[in-house]
């Protein structure tokens, strides 16, 4: 049986982490390569880099980061942000990432999902979805709407419909980020995660709202996710990847415990 995956997410701007990560001992680490290596050594199953640099120059810096990560860590990792064309995807994959994550670019130009899947294989293409709970309407029958720009722009697209659509277009994986849950530390949006996981046949990654290890257990059991994305709860040393996995294991979840 597949293990449920724990995936730390690192925000990068101009080749540095946007917030200094504090591991035990309160050492500030701004270097994404060093931080990725630490998570790799602690047993992270995958790592996500989210590049919030907009400029072309920033993208060049990010590719150097990807190359360095690829030469030091030997687990899959993905890069999102700043990827809006098939050529961008190729650059990131050749630099050594396994997967590319597209979010607003997929909403604006859905054909890049298909083009990316045809060029590199579906398993390389992760579609990230930012989702907000809204009143049920004819246009949004699931009550979950796709938003972009961190939730500021409503797209008038039903999240459940969109999840099935991106699967049809060739996405290999979905990362469901609840804008409502994000930053609350009250747990993942389980209804949303399960609704989508039960209606697609590709893996779903739960994102947004993690506050303690029970939330990851909930995401992969009640939420039916294949993986849970984590950020602040490990970045500031409150919990560790091995600690979270020990907890999940004790709760009967299959996780990778030898690395």
């Amino acid at each position: 049986m597949l293990s449920k995956r724990i995936i730390p997410c690192l925000d990068v701007r101009n080749g540095r982490l946007t917030k200094g990560i504090k591991f035990k001992g309160n050492v500030d680490i701004g270097d994404p390569v060093e931080t990725a290596r630490l998570y790799y050594e602690q047993g992270a199953d995958e790592i996500v880099f989210y590049d919030i640099t907009a400029s072309a120059e920033g993208r060049g810096i990010m590719l150097k980061v990807v190359e360095q990560v690829a030469s030091q860590i030997f687990i899959p990792f993905s890069v999102g942000g700043g990827v809006s064309t098939v050529s961008d995807m190729r650059d990131v994959l050749l630099a050594g990432a396994e997967k590319i994550s597209v979010n607003s670019a997929a909403v604006k130009t859905p054909h890049i999902i298909t083009e990316g899947a045809e060029a590199f294989g579906s398993q390389c293409v992760v579609v990230g979805m930012d989702v907000l709970q809204v009143p049920v309407t004819e246009q949004i029958p699931s009550g979950y709407e796709i938003v972009i720009h961190g939730g500021r722009k409503h797209m008038g697209i039903d999240a459940l419909w969109w999840a099935k659509e991106v699967e049809r277009l060739g996405a290999g994986e979905l990362c469901i980020n609840s804008i409502d849950a994000d930053g609350t530390r009250d747990g993942y949006e389980l209804n949303l995660t399960r609704l989508i996981a039960e209606n697609v046949r590709i893996p779903v990654i739960a994102s947004g709202g993690a506050g303690n290890p029970q939330h990851m257990v909930d995401a992969v059991t009640a939420g039916k996710a294949s993986a849970a994305l984590i950020a602040s709860i490990v970045h500031y040393g409150e919990y560790t990847v091995p600690g979270i996995k020990d907890y999940m294991h004790k709760q009967g979840v299959k996780v990778r415990r030898e690395w």
């Binding site: 049986m1 597949l2 293990s3 995956r5 790799y40 199953d45 690829a70 030469s71 030091q72 030997f74 687990i75 899959p76 994959l93 050749l94 050594g96 396994e98 294989g121 579906s122 398993q123 290999g172 994986e173 046949r201 590709i202 893996p203 039916k224 294949s226 993986a227 990778r256 415990r257 030898e258 690395w259």
Partner: protein, 213 residues
């Protein structure tokens, strides 16, 4: 030196990066003389069996690979390489290399995971190995170790070749071979320390058997 066979089947640099990290000399190459002079051969690949076989035949590398096996040069197939060294793949109805007796199968979408949920295809992520037969490449690796998989087809070699099995809706062969000719369906180059250990074990074997420096 290890030769990583270059037959235009996906990005081969991840294997090279792992070998570089281990300080194992290697070349990504399609050159027969270079492959002949190598102490061991890694045969990776991602993508479809049909186009991979076309590339191998057009470049003559299919024959080069058979020759390496014929002179007992150590060979390690990875992922697609693990599938197409068998006789046949239903993917594009492809006659494959026929180096190891057997064929590939596709995961049936009707299969269920152990928790009762239908399986996703491809089988992607970390999974365990059940050891069916001792293997030098798994020395020093914990039986609890997990490996990274990404595939929709799985190898079904003759039973005597099965080294490990893995459970995903069904129990399938995740590593097969005999001494000096091994193949893994998983990606050792993406499987953390246990995967690196497997690559190191392969190189150590090449060095012992063929005096690699």
């Amino acid at each position: 030196m290890l030769a990583i066979i270059d037959y235009k089947a996906g990005n081969l640099t991840s294997v090279r990066r792992a070998l570089d990290y281990l300080d194992i000399p290697c070349r990504i190459t399609a050159d027969k003389a270079e492959i002949d002079s190598a102490d061991g051969v890694i045969f990776p690949g991602v993508g479809a069996a049909g186009s991979a076989m076309v590339n191998l035949r057009n470049s003559g590398l299919d024959q080069v690979l058979r020759e390496q096996v014929a002179v007992s040069k150590p060979v390690l197939g990875i992922c697609l390489g693990c599938q197409i060294i068998l006789d046949f793949s239903p993917e594009n109805e492809t006659e494959t290399l026929g180096i190891v007796p057997g064929r590939c199968q596709k995961f049936s979408p009707d299969l269920q995971e152990e928790d009762g949920n239908p399986i996703n295809i491809p089988h992607m992520g970390w999974n365990s190995l059940h050891l069916e037969k001792e293997c030098a490449l798994l020395e020093g690796i914990s039986p609890e170790a997990e490996f990274y998989f990404v595939h929709s087809y799985y190898p079904e070699p003759d039973p005597e070749y099965v080294i490990t099995t893995t459970t995903y809706g069904t129990r399938f062969c995740s590593m097969h071979g005999r001494e000096g000719l091994w193949a893994t369906q998983f990606h050792p180059e993406k499987s953390g320390r246990p995967g690196l250990q497997l690559l190191q074990n392969f190189f150590n074997y090449c060095r012992e058997v063929h005096g690699a420096q």
